[in-house]
Symmetry: C2
Subunit: 252 residues, 2 copies
């Protein structure tokens, strides 16, 4: 027995079969939106993959790939012999490879950035190891405070390899760092992150407007381009009452 269709036909009426956007991607994004907006209710069972394919005029592998995208995101669950269902749990978007800047904008806050310092310094041992450079190489060191709606949320320290030595304070106050790097043709493919906690140091409590010695949430990140070259190292700390990291884990 086939399940009744759970979405209106209009949802997939405007598929671009010739454009540059892959079909499976068009399907999965439309499906995701329908699920997040509640058009397809939580717990609903989808039709089987072949029936969906017939209804949309697509092959099973294409439909399957679209569904797989959402399974990976934790929005759908598949069970052999049973079918595919919309997950009933609320699913949070994962920690993504975006800047804090973009995160905040998406949630509807107004981010602002104050550049505390922008200097060229010789790489110490740690920085050299992270960026895979010789000790003493001139790197760019940025220290910023990021606020949302006027409240300081985080202190961001970034170390950049020599090729970014001409970045200006104006650039940094206007756009996020990742945006600047992208506009120079540097695409970040992979990042290693470590999330931890510690007390405030030095002037951090003043910058974040919290008590001296209170806890901070920290995130250290080294980012690499497609060739595996380290293009950025970051040492960030966040006010734990204003910021946390959310993830959804999916077992396979």
């Amino acid at each position: 027995m086939s399940t009744e269709p759970v979405w209106p036909d209009e949802l997939f009426a405007d598929l671009e079969r010739t454009g540059p956007v892959p079909l499976y991607f068009q399907i999965s994004t439309r499906l995701e939106r329908a699920i997040r907006e509640g058009v397809i209710p939580s717990g609903a069972r989808l039709e089987n993959e072949i029936a969906i394919g017939e209804r949309l005029g697509l092959s099973r592998p294409t439909v399957r790939r679209a569904i797989q995208e959402l399974v990976d995101k934790g929005l759908l669950v598949r069970r052999r012999g049973i079918g595919t269902q919309v997950v009933q749990a609320r699913v949070s978007r994962p920690v993504e490879l975006t800047s804090l800047n973009e995160d905040l904008t998406r949630v509807g806050h107004h981010p602002a950035t104050r550049v505390l310092s922008l200097e060229r310094v010789p790489a110490d041992e740690e920085a050299a190891a992270q960026l895979n450079l010789a000790i003493g190489t001139e790197i760019t060191r940025i220290r910023r405070v990021r606020s949302a709606d006027g409240t300081p949320m985080a202190i961001l320290i970034n170390l950049l390899p020599p090729e970014f030595s001409d970045i200006t304070v104006e650039d940094l106050e206007r756009r996020g760092l990742y945006e600047i790097m992208r506009s120079r043709g540097v695409t970040i493919k992979i990042a290693n992150q470590t999330i931890g906690a510690r007390r405030t140091h030095d002037d951090e409590h003043e910058l974040l407007d919290i008590a001296k010695g209170s806890p901070l949430l920290t995130m250290d990140r080294v980012a690499f381009d497609h060739g595996g070259r380290a293009v950025e190292a970051g040492h960030h700390c966040y006010r734990p009452d204003l910021y946390s990291f959310e993830t959804t884990l999916v077992s396979r």
Copy 2:
């Protein structure tokens, strides 16, 4: 032009073509081990997908799927027109859907668990919301201290729905919670996690043998089974000098 083979033929000599383990999975696990052990060096370029398939007697989709697994894990990078390369960055295993217990064992530590309390309590508003039960439903509340090699590392609080009301202290000291749940046929498919930081409360500093009011790394988790039913809620806190969360992010 085809690239020279980068792995010894023995690597894939013992593929089980009839067994229950999928071929793509056998390939990807062997490849992953070879990369992590350095048998295939960092930065090496793989043969093209079709050539690999011919050498192994497999079709391109199967080879492609095996490679995709490692791309998702951040071990390989693909570029159209170029080929597939081993990532040069060190890649950490992601935060997985495993218990802390299993994490520690894998890294070679000796975990031990002390059960502080195991009680049945009525669900308060927060717990009821997390486990999707009526307020006042009797749930099981566990509080444990997890140590590695004799040093306390974390305080674990878990809330379980009524069906687990018969869990005993002996169970919990012998096996990890997730292991117990699995043995009862409850498989966790999805979990939502929030990682943050705060000060110690109450007796936490004593249990973890740190200064009163010092920072803690916290992780709150709600786990769901395949049907989207909440089967566990956890409120954990870790000594930040002994524990941190590592992830690798891959952009797509």
